[in-house]
Assembly symmetry: C2
Homo-oligomer: 294 residues x 2
Protein backbone atom coordinates (compact mmCIF):
# COMPACT_ATOMS: atom_id res chain seq x y z
CA UNK A 1 0.00 0.00 0.00
CA UNK A 2 1.20 3.47 -0.81
CA UNK A 3 1.47 5.95 2.03
CA UNK A 4 -1.01 8.25 0.27
CA UNK A 5 -3.54 5.44 0.18
CA UNK A 6 -3.06 4.59 3.83
CA UNK A 7 -3.48 8.21 4.81
CA UNK A 8 -6.69 8.25 2.77
CA UNK A 9 -7.80 5.11 4.60
CA UNK A 10 -7.08 6.72 7.97
CA UNK A 11 -8.94 9.87 6.94
CA UNK A 12 -12.05 7.91 6.02
CA UNK A 13 -11.74 5.70 9.08
CA UNK A 14 -11.31 8.51 11.55
CA UNK A 15 -14.04 10.94 10.72
CA UNK A 16 -13.35 13.81 13.00
CA UNK A 17 -16.15 15.07 15.21
CA UNK A 18 -14.27 17.56 17.31
CA UNK A 19 -13.40 21.06 16.17
CA UNK A 20 -10.41 20.01 14.08
CA UNK A 21 -9.58 22.66 11.49
CA UNK A 22 -7.55 20.15 9.49
CA UNK A 23 -6.88 16.48 10.22
CA UNK A 24 -4.84 13.93 8.28
CA UNK A 25 -3.60 15.07 4.87
CA UNK A 26 -1.37 18.12 5.31
CA UNK A 27 2.07 18.51 6.86
CA UNK A 28 0.49 19.04 10.28
CA UNK A 29 -2.88 18.67 11.91
CA UNK A 30 -4.47 22.03 12.74
CA UNK A 31 -6.58 22.61 15.86
CA UNK A 32 -8.37 25.62 17.27
CA UNK A 33 -6.16 27.11 19.97
CA UNK A 34 -6.49 30.71 21.09
CA UNK A 35 -8.57 33.43 19.47
CA UNK A 36 -5.77 34.47 17.15
CA UNK A 37 -3.83 31.24 16.79
CA UNK A 38 -4.12 27.66 15.64
CA UNK A 39 -2.26 24.77 17.20
CA UNK A 40 -0.15 22.61 14.87
CA UNK A 41 0.64 18.96 15.60
CA UNK A 42 2.88 16.59 13.69
CA UNK A 43 4.85 13.40 14.30
CA UNK A 44 7.54 11.51 12.42
CA UNK A 45 9.37 8.29 13.06
CA UNK A 46 12.94 7.42 12.02
CA UNK A 47 13.96 3.78 11.82
CA UNK A 48 17.43 2.23 11.56
CA UNK A 49 17.93 0.58 8.19
CA UNK A 50 15.26 2.78 6.57
CA UNK A 51 15.96 6.42 7.40
CA UNK A 52 19.51 5.99 8.66
CA UNK A 53 22.14 3.29 8.80
CA UNK A 54 23.42 1.10 11.58
CA UNK A 55 26.60 3.17 11.78
CA UNK A 56 24.98 6.62 11.47
CA UNK A 57 26.26 9.00 14.13
CA UNK A 58 23.69 9.14 16.96
CA UNK A 59 23.91 12.95 17.03
CA UNK A 60 22.74 12.98 13.39
CA UNK A 61 19.83 10.62 14.21
CA UNK A 62 18.58 12.95 16.92
CA UNK A 63 19.12 16.03 14.76
CA UNK A 64 17.27 14.58 11.79
CA UNK A 65 14.32 13.28 13.82
CA UNK A 66 13.78 16.77 15.19
CA UNK A 67 14.52 18.49 11.86
CA UNK A 68 11.88 16.60 9.84
CA UNK A 69 9.22 17.55 12.37
CA UNK A 70 10.29 21.19 12.44
CA UNK A 71 10.13 21.16 8.64
CA UNK A 72 6.46 20.09 8.84
CA UNK A 73 5.63 22.98 11.17
CA UNK A 74 7.57 25.39 8.93
CA UNK A 75 5.63 24.21 5.87
CA UNK A 76 2.42 25.46 7.47
CA UNK A 77 3.89 28.80 8.41
CA UNK A 78 4.09 28.02 12.13
CA UNK A 79 6.53 28.07 15.01
CA UNK A 80 7.43 24.86 16.90
CA UNK A 81 7.16 24.90 20.68
CA UNK A 82 6.95 21.54 22.47
CA UNK A 83 8.26 18.07 21.67
CA UNK A 84 7.60 14.56 22.94
CA UNK A 85 10.46 12.15 22.25
CA UNK A 86 10.00 8.35 22.13
CA UNK A 87 13.13 6.32 21.60
CA UNK A 88 13.97 2.64 21.28
CA UNK A 89 17.62 1.57 21.47
CA UNK A 90 19.29 -1.84 21.26
CA UNK A 91 20.44 -3.22 24.60
CA UNK A 92 24.04 -3.42 23.40
CA UNK A 93 24.21 0.33 22.75
CA UNK A 94 25.68 2.24 25.65
CA UNK A 95 24.50 5.29 27.50
CA UNK A 96 26.77 7.50 25.41
CA UNK A 97 24.81 6.52 22.30
CA UNK A 98 21.52 7.61 23.88
CA UNK A 99 23.04 10.83 25.19
CA UNK A 100 24.39 11.70 21.75
CA UNK A 101 20.95 11.20 20.21
CA UNK A 102 19.69 13.58 22.87
CA UNK A 103 22.46 16.06 22.07
CA UNK A 104 21.33 16.08 18.42
CA UNK A 105 17.76 16.76 19.49
CA UNK A 106 18.88 19.44 21.90
CA UNK A 107 20.99 21.28 19.33
CA UNK A 108 17.91 22.01 17.22
CA UNK A 109 15.73 22.68 20.26
CA UNK A 110 18.19 25.31 21.37
CA UNK A 111 18.39 26.87 17.92
CA UNK A 112 14.63 27.13 17.54
CA UNK A 113 13.64 27.52 21.20
CA UNK A 114 11.72 24.24 21.49
CA UNK A 115 11.02 22.54 24.83
CA UNK A 116 11.15 18.76 25.17
CA UNK A 117 8.39 18.09 27.67
CA UNK A 118 8.02 14.32 27.62
CA UNK A 119 9.93 11.19 26.86
CA UNK A 120 9.60 7.45 26.60
CA UNK A 121 12.63 5.17 26.42
CA UNK A 122 12.56 1.52 25.41
CA UNK A 123 14.71 -1.39 24.50
CA UNK A 124 14.50 -2.30 20.82
CA UNK A 125 16.13 -4.62 18.30
CA UNK A 126 17.13 -1.65 16.16
CA UNK A 127 17.26 2.03 16.96
CA UNK A 128 13.96 3.85 16.41
CA UNK A 129 13.11 7.43 17.24
CA UNK A 130 9.66 9.02 17.09
CA UNK A 131 9.07 12.68 17.83
CA UNK A 132 5.74 14.46 18.15
CA UNK A 133 6.01 18.21 17.79
CA UNK A 134 3.49 20.84 18.75
CA UNK A 135 3.55 24.39 17.53
CA UNK A 136 1.34 27.33 16.79
CA UNK A 137 0.60 29.69 13.97
CA UNK A 138 -1.25 32.99 13.78
CA UNK A 139 -4.56 32.26 12.04
CA UNK A 140 -3.76 34.77 9.29
CA UNK A 141 -0.44 33.09 8.64
CA UNK A 142 -1.61 29.48 8.29
CA UNK A 143 -0.44 28.06 4.96
CA UNK A 144 -1.86 24.76 3.71
CA UNK A 145 -1.32 22.53 0.69
CA UNK A 146 -4.74 23.26 -0.68
CA UNK A 147 -4.73 26.96 -1.51
CA UNK A 148 -2.94 26.99 -4.89
CA UNK A 149 -4.95 28.70 -7.66
CA UNK A 150 -4.55 28.58 -11.47
CA UNK A 151 -2.18 31.37 -12.50
CA UNK A 152 -0.18 31.23 -9.26
CA UNK A 153 3.58 30.98 -9.66
CA UNK A 154 5.49 28.02 -8.23
CA UNK A 155 8.67 28.58 -6.19
CA UNK A 156 11.21 26.58 -4.21
CA UNK A 157 13.62 27.71 -1.52
CA UNK A 158 17.31 26.79 -1.84
CA UNK A 159 18.48 24.12 -4.25
CA UNK A 160 17.31 20.60 -4.92
CA UNK A 161 19.44 17.50 -4.75
CA UNK A 162 21.13 18.30 -1.45
CA UNK A 163 19.24 15.49 0.25
CA UNK A 164 21.80 13.00 -0.97
CA UNK A 165 24.59 14.59 1.03
CA UNK A 166 22.80 16.58 3.70
CA UNK A 167 19.69 14.62 4.66
CA UNK A 168 21.10 13.88 8.12
CA UNK A 169 22.21 17.40 8.90
CA UNK A 170 19.83 19.71 7.05
CA UNK A 171 18.57 22.86 8.67
CA UNK A 172 14.78 23.03 8.45
CA UNK A 173 13.54 26.11 6.57
CA UNK A 174 11.80 27.64 9.56
CA UNK A 175 13.39 31.06 9.26
CA UNK A 176 12.56 31.18 5.55
CA UNK A 177 8.98 30.07 6.17
CA UNK A 178 8.45 32.81 8.73
CA UNK A 179 9.69 35.42 6.29
CA UNK A 180 7.42 34.02 3.57
CA UNK A 181 4.56 34.21 6.08
CA UNK A 182 4.72 38.00 5.77
CA UNK A 183 3.38 37.58 2.23
CA UNK A 184 0.22 35.97 0.90
CA UNK A 185 1.53 32.46 0.22
CA UNK A 186 -1.37 30.55 -1.37
CA UNK A 187 0.00 27.04 -0.63
CA UNK A 188 3.14 25.36 0.69
CA UNK A 189 4.61 21.90 1.33
CA UNK A 190 8.05 20.72 2.40
CA UNK A 191 10.00 18.54 -0.04
CA UNK A 192 10.42 15.44 2.07
CA UNK A 193 9.76 12.87 -0.63
CA UNK A 194 11.02 14.62 -3.77
CA UNK A 195 9.66 17.33 -6.08
CA UNK A 196 7.71 14.89 -8.26
CA UNK A 197 5.73 13.34 -5.43
CA UNK A 198 5.32 16.41 -3.24
CA UNK A 199 4.23 18.71 -6.09
CA UNK A 200 1.64 16.12 -7.07
CA UNK A 201 0.44 16.12 -3.46
CA UNK A 202 0.13 19.89 -3.42
CA UNK A 203 -1.65 19.97 -6.79
CA UNK A 204 -4.05 17.21 -5.74
CA UNK A 205 -4.82 18.92 -2.42
CA UNK A 206 -5.52 22.19 -4.27
CA UNK A 207 -7.49 20.52 -7.11
CA UNK A 208 -5.23 22.14 -9.69
CA UNK A 209 -2.44 21.14 -12.05
CA UNK A 210 1.10 22.49 -12.42
CA UNK A 211 3.79 23.02 -15.03
CA UNK A 212 7.45 22.90 -14.00
CA UNK A 213 10.14 24.23 -16.33
CA UNK A 214 13.06 21.86 -16.29
CA UNK A 215 15.73 24.49 -16.92
CA UNK A 216 14.48 26.65 -14.03
CA UNK A 217 14.94 24.01 -11.31
CA UNK A 218 17.89 25.02 -9.13
CA UNK A 219 20.10 21.97 -8.80
CA UNK A 220 22.80 21.55 -6.17
CA UNK A 221 26.05 20.31 -7.71
CA UNK A 222 26.01 18.41 -10.96
CA UNK A 223 25.96 14.77 -10.05
CA UNK A 224 23.07 12.39 -10.61
CA UNK A 225 20.42 12.21 -13.28
CA UNK A 226 17.67 14.79 -13.42
CA UNK A 227 15.02 12.16 -12.89
CA UNK A 228 16.78 10.95 -9.78
CA UNK A 229 17.15 14.52 -8.58
CA UNK A 230 13.44 15.28 -8.59
CA UNK A 231 12.28 11.92 -7.33
CA UNK A 232 14.73 11.64 -4.50
CA UNK A 233 13.40 12.79 -1.17
CA UNK A 234 14.88 14.51 1.82
CA UNK A 235 15.71 17.89 0.32
CA UNK A 236 13.44 19.52 2.89
CA UNK A 237 13.29 22.73 0.90
CA UNK A 238 9.92 24.49 0.77
CA UNK A 239 7.74 24.38 -2.34
CA UNK A 240 5.19 27.19 -2.44
CA UNK A 241 2.80 29.11 -4.67
CA UNK A 242 1.91 32.81 -4.84
CA UNK A 243 -0.02 35.08 -7.14
CA UNK A 244 2.13 36.98 -9.70
CA UNK A 245 1.50 40.25 -7.84
CA UNK A 246 2.60 38.81 -4.52
CA UNK A 247 5.63 37.20 -6.19
CA UNK A 248 6.76 40.71 -7.22
CA UNK A 249 6.56 41.86 -3.61
CA UNK A 250 8.62 38.88 -2.46
CA UNK A 251 11.30 39.46 -5.08
CA UNK A 252 11.45 43.15 -4.17
CA UNK A 253 11.83 42.21 -0.51
CA UNK A 254 14.64 39.78 -1.36
CA UNK A 255 16.52 42.34 -3.47
CA UNK A 256 16.42 44.71 -0.51
CA UNK A 257 17.02 42.34 2.40
CA UNK A 258 18.91 39.42 0.83
CA UNK A 259 17.62 37.17 3.63
CA UNK A 260 16.07 34.50 1.44
CA UNK A 261 16.87 32.41 -1.65
CA UNK A 262 13.89 31.39 -3.74
CA UNK A 263 13.56 30.32 -7.38
CA UNK A 264 10.51 30.35 -9.60
CA UNK A 265 10.25 26.94 -11.26
CA UNK A 266 6.79 26.93 -12.82
CA UNK A 267 3.13 27.83 -12.52
CA UNK A 268 -0.21 26.45 -11.40
CA UNK A 269 -2.71 25.45 -14.10
CA UNK A 270 -6.41 24.79 -14.27
CA UNK A 271 -5.71 21.57 -16.19
CA UNK A 272 -5.09 18.77 -13.66
CA UNK A 273 -1.85 16.80 -13.58
CA UNK A 274 1.74 17.93 -13.12
CA UNK A 275 3.77 18.41 -16.32
CA UNK A 276 7.48 18.98 -16.75
CA UNK A 277 8.35 21.28 -19.65
CA UNK A 278 11.63 20.90 -21.56
CA UNK A 279 13.44 23.93 -22.97
CA UNK A 280 12.22 22.85 -26.43
CA UNK A 281 8.66 23.38 -25.22
CA UNK A 282 7.84 19.68 -25.18
CA UNK A 283 6.24 18.56 -21.95
CA UNK A 284 5.40 15.28 -20.28
CA UNK A 285 3.47 14.16 -17.24
CA UNK A 286 5.49 14.12 -14.01
CA UNK A 287 4.14 11.15 -12.11
CA UNK A 288 3.92 10.86 -8.32
CA UNK A 289 7.27 9.15 -8.23
CA UNK A 290 9.37 9.62 -5.16
CA UNK A 291 10.30 8.10 -1.90
CA UNK A 292 7.32 6.17 -0.66
CA UNK A 293 7.41 4.68 2.76
CA UNK A 294 5.16 1.70 2.14
CA UNK B 1 20.98 3.12 32.09
CA UNK B 2 17.69 2.88 33.92
CA UNK B 3 14.73 4.69 32.44
CA UNK B 4 14.41 6.81 35.59
CA UNK B 5 17.99 7.96 35.17
CA UNK B 6 17.49 8.82 31.53
CA UNK B 7 14.37 10.81 32.32
CA UNK B 8 16.38 12.65 34.97
CA UNK B 9 19.05 13.31 32.36
CA UNK B 10 16.46 14.67 29.94
CA UNK B 11 14.95 16.85 32.64
CA UNK B 12 18.30 18.43 33.44
CA UNK B 13 19.18 18.71 29.77
CA UNK B 14 15.96 20.34 28.72
CA UNK B 15 15.40 23.10 31.21
CA UNK B 16 12.05 24.42 30.26
CA UNK B 17 11.71 28.13 29.61
CA UNK B 18 8.16 28.25 28.31
CA UNK B 19 5.12 28.22 30.56
CA UNK B 20 5.15 24.46 31.13
CA UNK B 21 3.23 23.55 34.27
CA UNK B 22 4.93 20.18 34.40
CA UNK B 23 7.53 18.68 32.06
CA UNK B 24 9.25 15.30 32.12
CA UNK B 25 8.63 13.20 35.23
CA UNK B 26 4.91 12.53 35.53
CA UNK B 27 2.56 10.39 33.43
CA UNK B 28 1.94 13.35 31.12
CA UNK B 29 3.38 16.77 30.45
CA UNK B 30 1.06 19.56 31.57
CA UNK B 31 0.70 22.85 29.68
CA UNK B 32 -1.39 25.96 30.19
CA UNK B 33 -4.40 25.72 27.89
CA UNK B 34 -7.59 27.66 28.54
CA UNK B 35 -8.47 29.65 31.65
CA UNK B 36 -10.04 26.64 33.33
CA UNK B 37 -8.11 23.78 31.78
CA UNK B 38 -4.64 22.36 31.32
CA UNK B 39 -3.48 20.49 28.27
CA UNK B 40 -2.00 17.01 28.81
CA UNK B 41 0.51 15.44 26.42
CA UNK B 42 1.99 11.95 26.48
CA UNK B 43 3.60 9.49 24.08
CA UNK B 44 4.44 5.79 24.18
CA UNK B 45 6.12 3.47 21.77
CA UNK B 46 5.48 -0.27 21.36
CA UNK B 47 8.12 -2.44 19.71
CA UNK B 48 7.90 -5.98 18.35
CA UNK B 49 9.95 -8.37 20.45
CA UNK B 50 9.78 -6.06 23.49
CA UNK B 51 6.14 -5.12 24.13
CA UNK B 52 4.52 -7.73 21.92
CA UNK B 53 5.54 -10.78 19.95
CA UNK B 54 6.02 -11.41 16.27
CA UNK B 55 2.74 -13.33 16.14
CA UNK B 56 0.68 -10.93 18.28
CA UNK B 57 -2.64 -10.10 16.64
CA UNK B 58 -2.31 -6.67 14.94
CA UNK B 59 -5.65 -5.56 16.43
CA UNK B 60 -4.13 -6.11 19.90
CA UNK B 61 -1.02 -4.10 18.98
CA UNK B 62 -3.14 -1.12 17.94
CA UNK B 63 -5.39 -1.47 20.98
CA UNK B 64 -2.51 -1.65 23.43
CA UNK B 65 -0.58 1.27 21.91
CA UNK B 66 -3.65 3.45 22.35
CA UNK B 67 -4.54 2.00 25.76
CA UNK B 68 -1.18 2.74 27.41
CA UNK B 69 -1.41 6.37 26.33
CA UNK B 70 -5.02 6.72 27.53
CA UNK B 71 -3.90 5.24 30.84
CA UNK B 72 -1.33 8.05 31.21
CA UNK B 73 -4.01 10.69 30.63
CA UNK B 74 -6.35 8.91 33.07
CA UNK B 75 -3.64 8.87 35.74
CA UNK B 76 -3.62 12.67 35.73
CA UNK B 77 -7.39 12.93 35.96
CA UNK B 78 -7.83 14.07 32.35
CA UNK B 79 -9.76 13.24 29.22
CA UNK B 80 -7.98 12.22 25.98
CA UNK B 81 -8.90 14.04 22.79
CA UNK B 82 -6.45 13.88 19.87
CA UNK B 83 -3.92 11.28 18.76
CA UNK B 84 -0.98 11.21 16.34
CA UNK B 85 -0.09 7.71 15.16
CA UNK B 86 3.35 6.78 13.79
CA UNK B 87 3.75 3.25 12.55
CA UNK B 88 6.55 1.18 11.04
CA UNK B 89 5.71 -2.17 9.45
CA UNK B 90 7.85 -4.80 7.73
CA UNK B 91 7.58 -4.84 3.95
CA UNK B 92 6.39 -8.44 3.95
CA UNK B 93 3.33 -7.62 6.06
CA UNK B 94 0.25 -7.00 3.96
CA UNK B 95 -2.26 -4.21 3.97
CA UNK B 96 -4.63 -6.27 6.13
CA UNK B 97 -2.05 -6.24 8.91
CA UNK B 98 -1.87 -2.45 8.86
CA UNK B 99 -5.64 -2.09 8.71
CA UNK B 100 -6.08 -4.40 11.69
CA UNK B 101 -3.63 -2.31 13.73
CA UNK B 102 -5.78 0.67 12.77
CA UNK B 103 -8.95 -1.19 13.79
CA UNK B 104 -7.46 -1.78 17.24
CA UNK B 105 -6.64 1.92 17.56
CA UNK B 106 -10.08 2.90 16.31
CA UNK B 107 -11.93 0.62 18.75
CA UNK B 108 -10.53 2.57 21.71
CA UNK B 109 -10.90 5.92 19.93
CA UNK B 110 -14.57 5.17 19.43
CA UNK B 111 -15.05 4.07 23.02
CA UNK B 112 -13.40 7.17 24.46
CA UNK B 113 -14.26 9.67 21.71
CA UNK B 114 -10.68 10.33 20.60
CA UNK B 115 -9.83 11.76 17.16
CA UNK B 116 -6.80 10.54 15.24
CA UNK B 117 -5.60 13.72 13.52
CA UNK B 118 -2.23 12.74 12.10
CA UNK B 119 -0.28 9.79 10.90
CA UNK B 120 3.10 8.70 9.63
CA UNK B 121 3.67 5.31 8.01
CA UNK B 122 7.04 3.73 7.36
CA UNK B 123 8.76 0.58 6.34
CA UNK B 124 10.60 -1.11 9.22
CA UNK B 125 12.45 -4.31 9.98
CA UNK B 126 10.07 -5.07 12.83
CA UNK B 127 6.69 -3.62 13.65
CA UNK B 128 6.83 -0.47 15.78
CA UNK B 129 3.99 1.79 16.80
CA UNK B 130 4.30 5.15 18.52
CA UNK B 131 1.28 7.18 19.58
CA UNK B 132 1.25 10.72 20.96
CA UNK B 133 -1.95 11.58 22.79
CA UNK B 134 -3.25 15.00 23.73
CA UNK B 135 -5.96 15.59 26.26
CA UNK B 136 -7.20 18.12 28.74
CA UNK B 137 -8.09 18.34 32.39
CA UNK B 138 -9.98 20.91 34.44
CA UNK B 139 -7.34 22.73 36.51
CA UNK B 140 -9.09 21.74 39.74
CA UNK B 141 -9.03 18.10 38.70
CA UNK B 142 -5.35 17.75 37.79
CA UNK B 143 -3.81 14.89 39.77
CA UNK B 144 -0.02 14.47 39.85
CA UNK B 145 2.42 12.00 41.37
CA UNK B 146 3.75 14.53 43.78
CA UNK B 147 0.83 15.40 46.06
CA UNK B 148 0.90 12.47 48.53
CA UNK B 149 1.12 13.59 52.19
CA UNK B 150 2.06 11.60 55.32
CA UNK B 151 -1.12 10.09 56.78
CA UNK B 152 -2.80 9.72 53.37
CA UNK B 153 -4.23 6.29 52.61
CA UNK B 154 -3.00 4.30 49.63
CA UNK B 155 -5.48 2.67 47.24
CA UNK B 156 -5.50 0.69 44.00
CA UNK B 157 -8.31 0.17 41.51
CA UNK B 158 -9.17 -3.39 40.42
CA UNK B 159 -6.84 -6.30 41.07
CA UNK B 160 -3.14 -6.74 40.46
CA UNK B 161 -1.55 -9.51 38.42
CA UNK B 162 -3.90 -9.27 35.46
CA UNK B 163 -1.12 -7.90 33.31
CA UNK B 164 0.13 -11.40 32.61
CA UNK B 165 -3.05 -12.39 30.82
CA UNK B 166 -4.61 -9.09 29.84
CA UNK B 167 -1.77 -6.72 28.99
CA UNK B 168 -2.73 -6.66 25.31
CA UNK B 169 -6.42 -6.11 25.83
CA UNK B 170 -6.76 -4.10 29.03
CA UNK B 171 -9.27 -1.31 29.30
CA UNK B 172 -7.58 1.85 30.58
CA UNK B 173 -9.10 3.13 33.83
CA UNK B 174 -10.38 6.36 32.35
CA UNK B 175 -13.94 6.02 33.64
CA UNK B 176 -12.64 5.19 37.13
CA UNK B 177 -10.21 8.11 37.08
CA UNK B 178 -12.95 10.56 36.14
CA UNK B 179 -15.09 9.33 39.06
CA UNK B 180 -12.12 9.64 41.41
CA UNK B 181 -11.62 13.17 40.09
CA UNK B 182 -14.81 14.15 41.90
CA UNK B 183 -12.88 13.67 45.15
CA UNK B 184 -9.70 15.22 46.48
CA UNK B 185 -7.16 12.68 45.23
CA UNK B 186 -3.79 13.82 46.56
CA UNK B 187 -1.66 11.82 44.09
CA UNK B 188 -2.05 9.17 41.40
CA UNK B 189 0.01 7.04 38.98
CA UNK B 190 -0.88 4.19 36.64
CA UNK B 191 0.71 0.81 37.31
CA UNK B 192 2.55 0.33 34.05
CA UNK B 193 5.75 -1.12 35.50
CA UNK B 194 4.54 -2.92 38.62
CA UNK B 195 3.51 -1.84 42.12
CA UNK B 196 7.05 -1.94 43.50
CA UNK B 197 8.52 0.41 40.92
CA UNK B 198 5.53 2.71 40.42
CA UNK B 199 4.87 3.17 44.16
CA UNK B 200 8.52 4.09 44.61
CA UNK B 201 8.11 6.63 41.79
CA UNK B 202 5.06 8.16 43.44
CA UNK B 203 6.73 8.25 46.87
CA UNK B 204 9.88 9.81 45.45
CA UNK B 205 7.92 12.44 43.49
CA UNK B 206 5.97 13.32 46.66
CA UNK B 207 9.05 13.24 48.94
CA UNK B 208 7.32 10.78 51.26
CA UNK B 209 7.52 7.09 52.16
CA UNK B 210 4.82 4.41 52.07
CA UNK B 211 3.82 1.22 53.85
CA UNK B 212 1.95 -1.47 51.93
CA UNK B 213 0.19 -4.29 53.79
CA UNK B 214 0.84 -7.52 51.97
CA UNK B 215 -2.45 -9.18 52.89
CA UNK B 216 -4.48 -6.20 51.66
CA UNK B 217 -3.18 -6.30 48.07
CA UNK B 218 -5.98 -7.54 45.82
CA UNK B 219 -4.55 -10.29 43.65
CA UNK B 220 -6.14 -11.59 40.47
CA UNK B 221 -6.20 -15.41 40.41
CA UNK B 222 -3.70 -17.37 42.44
CA UNK B 223 -0.85 -18.13 40.10
CA UNK B 224 2.64 -16.72 40.35
CA UNK B 225 4.73 -15.66 43.32
CA UNK B 226 3.88 -12.55 45.27
CA UNK B 227 7.19 -10.96 44.41
CA UNK B 228 6.56 -11.53 40.74
CA UNK B 229 3.07 -10.14 41.11
CA UNK B 230 4.16 -6.77 42.41
CA UNK B 231 7.20 -6.39 40.21
CA UNK B 232 5.52 -7.37 36.97
CA UNK B 233 4.28 -4.45 34.96
CA UNK B 234 1.33 -3.85 32.70
CA UNK B 235 -1.51 -4.08 35.20
CA UNK B 236 -2.51 -0.52 34.27
CA UNK B 237 -4.61 -0.18 37.39
CA UNK B 238 -4.48 3.20 39.15
CA UNK B 239 -2.55 3.68 42.37
CA UNK B 240 -3.70 6.73 44.33
CA UNK B 241 -3.62 8.43 47.71
CA UNK B 242 -6.28 10.34 49.63
CA UNK B 243 -6.69 11.76 53.13
CA UNK B 244 -8.59 9.48 55.56
CA UNK B 245 -11.56 11.89 55.52
CA UNK B 246 -11.75 11.88 51.73
CA UNK B 247 -11.36 8.09 51.70
CA UNK B 248 -14.54 7.85 53.76
CA UNK B 249 -16.42 9.92 51.18
CA UNK B 250 -15.17 7.70 48.37
CA UNK B 251 -16.19 4.50 50.20
CA UNK B 252 -19.60 5.98 50.91
CA UNK B 253 -19.98 6.89 47.23
CA UNK B 254 -19.01 3.37 46.18
CA UNK B 255 -21.48 1.72 48.61
CA UNK B 256 -24.23 3.81 47.07
CA UNK B 257 -23.28 3.77 43.40
CA UNK B 258 -21.27 0.55 43.03
CA UNK B 259 -19.54 2.08 39.98
CA UNK B 260 -15.96 1.60 41.17
CA UNK B 261 -13.75 -1.08 42.73
CA UNK B 262 -10.94 0.23 44.92
CA UNK B 263 -8.93 -1.38 47.71
CA UNK B 264 -6.92 0.28 50.45
CA UNK B 265 -3.49 -1.36 50.51
CA UNK B 266 -1.45 0.91 52.78
CA UNK B 267 -0.59 4.41 53.87
CA UNK B 268 1.83 7.24 53.23
CA UNK B 269 4.57 7.88 55.81
CA UNK B 270 6.87 10.72 56.66
CA UNK B 271 9.77 8.25 56.76
CA UNK B 272 11.18 7.87 53.24
CA UNK B 273 11.29 4.52 51.45
CA UNK B 274 8.56 2.07 50.58
CA UNK B 275 8.07 -0.84 53.02
CA UNK B 276 5.99 -3.96 52.62
CA UNK B 277 4.43 -5.15 55.87
CA UNK B 278 3.73 -8.88 56.49
CA UNK B 279 0.72 -10.00 58.52
CA UNK B 280 3.12 -10.79 61.37
CA UNK B 281 4.00 -7.11 61.53
CA UNK B 282 7.50 -7.62 60.14
CA UNK B 283 8.32 -5.27 57.31
CA UNK B 284 11.03 -4.92 54.69
CA UNK B 285 12.04 -2.38 52.10
CA UNK B 286 10.28 -2.73 48.74
CA UNK B 287 12.90 -1.81 46.21
CA UNK B 288 12.25 -0.12 42.86
CA UNK B 289 12.12 -3.47 41.15
CA UNK B 290 9.89 -3.81 38.14
CA UNK B 291 9.88 -3.72 34.42
CA UNK B 292 12.55 -1.33 33.30
CA UNK B 293 12.84 -0.46 29.69
CA UNK B 294 16.56 0.14 29.57
Amino acid sequence: MKELEFVDYLTRKFKVKRPVVMGIGDDCAVLEHTRGKYMLLTSDMLIEGVHFERNTAPFAIGWKAMAVNISDIAAMGGVPEYALVSVGVPKKKNIKFLKKITDGIEALCRKFDISVIGGDTNRAGKTVLSIALMGEVEKKRLITRSGARPGDLLFVTGKLGCGRVKHLSFLPRLREARILGNFKISSMIDLSDGLALDLNRLARASSVGARVHKELIPIFGARGSFKEMISRGEDFELLFTVSPGEAKKIMKHIRRKKDLAVTRIGEITRVLGVRIVEESGRSKLLKSRGFRHL
